[in-house]
C-alpha cells in the first residue's frame, strides 16, 4: 500500500497527524493551482483553506476510485468555480505579476531573454482563453496532471481534453506569431528615402 493510501486510511479514522501529513504533501500544489487561477494571493489562500475544509468533511465519501490528488483537484476546481460565480467582478488576471515575481528571483542569461519573453506571452495568452480551455491548460501543463486525470477533474471525456489541448496549441501559436510580427515591426526603424543614416 502506498504512503498516501496509508495516510488516507488513518485520516479516515480521524487521525489528525495523518491528515496533517497529507496536507504537507498536497497543499502547495493546490495553492499554486488556485493562485494562478484567481490572481490574488489572499483569494488563493482562502480558496485553499476552503478546499481542505471540504476535503476533511467529506473524506469518508472518497471511495478511492481515482487518485487522491485527482479528487483533491476536483474539489479545488469546484471551490474555484463557486467562488467565480459568486464574485464575477473579482476575477482578475494577474499572471503577469506572479510571472514577474517568479522569474525575477532567477534572472536567466541574456540568451534566455527570448525564451523568457515567449513564456510571458504564452502565460498571458493562456489567461485570455475561455474558461474550459484555460482550466485544461492549468491542470495538464501547469499542474502536470495526466490527460485522464485532467478529464476526471473537469468531468469530461479524455478525448475532450485532447481536443481542447490541440485547440489551445493552435490558438497560442497564432497569437504568438501575431505578437512576434508586431514586435518585429516595432523594431524596424523608418528610414526616409535618400536620407543619410
Amino acid at each position: 500500500m502506498s504512503q498516501v493510501k496509508k495516510l488516507l486510511k488513518r485520516a479516515r479514522k480521524a487521525d489528525t497527524n495523518a491528515a496533517s501529513q497529507l496536507l504537507t504533501v498536497y497543499y502547495e500544489d493546490i495553492y499554486s493551482y488556485l493562485r494562478r487561477l484567481c490572481g490574488s494571493q489572499t483569494d488563493a489562500e482562502d480558496l485553499t483553506q476552503q478546499t481542505f475544509l471540504k476535503v476533511w468533511s467529506s473524506l469518508d465519501r472518497f471511495k478511492g476510485r481515482s487518485r487522491f490528488s485527482t479528487w483533491l483537484y476536483r474539489i479545488a476546481y469546484n471551490c474555484y468555480i463557486d467562488w467565480r460565480r459568486k464574485n464575477p467582478g473579482n476575477v482578475q488576471s494577474n499572471t503577469d505579476q506572479w510571472w514577474h515575481e517568479c522569474t525575477d528571483n532567477n534572472p536567466g542569461p541574456v540568451e534566455g531573454f527570448a525564451r523568457h519573453q515567449l513564456s510571458r506571452q504564452l502565460y498571458e495568452a493562456v489567461d485570455r482563453l475561455d474558461e474550459d480551455k484555460k482550466q485544461t491548460v492549468h491542470l495538464h501543463y501547469y499542474q502536470g496532471l495526466s490527460l485522464r486525470e485532467t478529464a476526471k477533474v473537469l468531468g469530461v471525456a479524455t478525448s475532450t481534453v485532447k481536443y481542447r489541448l490541440r485547440e489551445v496549441l493552435r490558438i497560442l501559436r497564432i497569437r504568438i506569431d501575431a505578437e512576434a510580427n508586431e514586435f518585429d515591426l516595432r523594431q524596424t526603424i523608418p528610414v526616409a528615402k535618400g536620407e543619410p543614416i
Binding site: K13, E28, L59, C102, S119
Partner: protein, 179 residues
C-alpha cells in the same frame, strides 16, 4: 523544433507560485480544530456525535421520538387490523350419499359487528340466503389478477331481523375454453 511542441514545453516549465509562509499554519489549525468526518454509521453519528461517549440526552430524545411516533402508528395499525377471520364449513350430501365438505373463509371488519359471534351468525344466514337465491346482486367492476378475469358483485341480503347487509364478492369469468 516544432512550434507547438515548443509551446507545450514552455507551458510545462511554467514557474510555480510558492505558498505564503502562514498558509501551512492556517491549514494545520483547521485540521487540529476539525473533527474529521470519519467512517461512522448514521446511528453512531446520532448517538455519539463527538465520536466518543454516547450522549445520554440523545438516547432520551430518540426514545421520546420513538414513543411519540410509534405509539400512534401502532394504535392505527391495531385499528386497521380489527378484522374477524371467520371460517365456515358446509356439508353437502349428493344422491349417491357422498358427503362433500366445503370450507369458506371470510374476513370482515369488526366495525359492523358487535362481536365475532354476531359476525358468524350473520354470515351463516347470508350463506343460506345465497343458497336459496334470496339476494340482490349488482355488478361493480371487472378485475384482472395474474391473467385471470373476475367480476366484482355486490350481494345484498335482507336478514331475518330486517337488517340489510351487503358484501362484495368476486367471481371468475368463465372463458370460452372453460365452457
Amino acid at each position: 523544433m516544432n512550434a507547438e511542441k515548443r509551446i507545450g514545453q514552455c507551458l510545462r516549465s511554467a514557474p510555480k507560485p510558492s505558498a505564503p509562509d502562514g498558509l501551512m499554519n492556517r491549514l494545520q489549525a483547521d485540521v487540529s480544530a476539525l473533527d474529521i468526518n470519519a467512517q461512522r454509521s448514521a446511528l453512531q453519528r446520532w448517538f455519539a456525535p463527538t465520536g466518543g461517549r454516547i450522549s445520554r440526552w440523545r438516547v432520551a430524545t430518540a426514545a421520546a421520538i420513538a414513543v411519540a411516533v410509534l405509539l400512534p402508528l401502532s394504535y392505527g395499525a391495531d385499528k386497521l387490523m380489527k378484522l374477524y377471520h371467520i371460517r365456515f364449513e358446509s356439508k353437502q350430501v349428493s344422491d349417491d350419499g357422498t358427503v362433500t365438505t366445503t370450507t369458506t373463509e371470510v374476513t370482515v371488519s369488526r366495525d359492523f359487528f358487535a362481536d365475532e359471534e354476531e359476525a358468524r351468525r350473520v354470515l351463516q344466514e347470508t350463506q343460506e340466503l345465497k343458497k336459496a337465491g334470496k339476494y340482490e346482486r349488482t355488478f361493480l367492476k371487472e378485475i384482472e389478477r395474474n391473467g385471470v378475469k373476475s367480476h366484482m358483485y355486490m350481494y345484498r341480503y335482507t336478514l331475518s331481523n330486517g337488517r340489510v347487509v351487503g358484501f362484495a364478492e368476486s367471481e371468475r369469468v368463465k372463458d370460452e375454453e372453460d365452457r
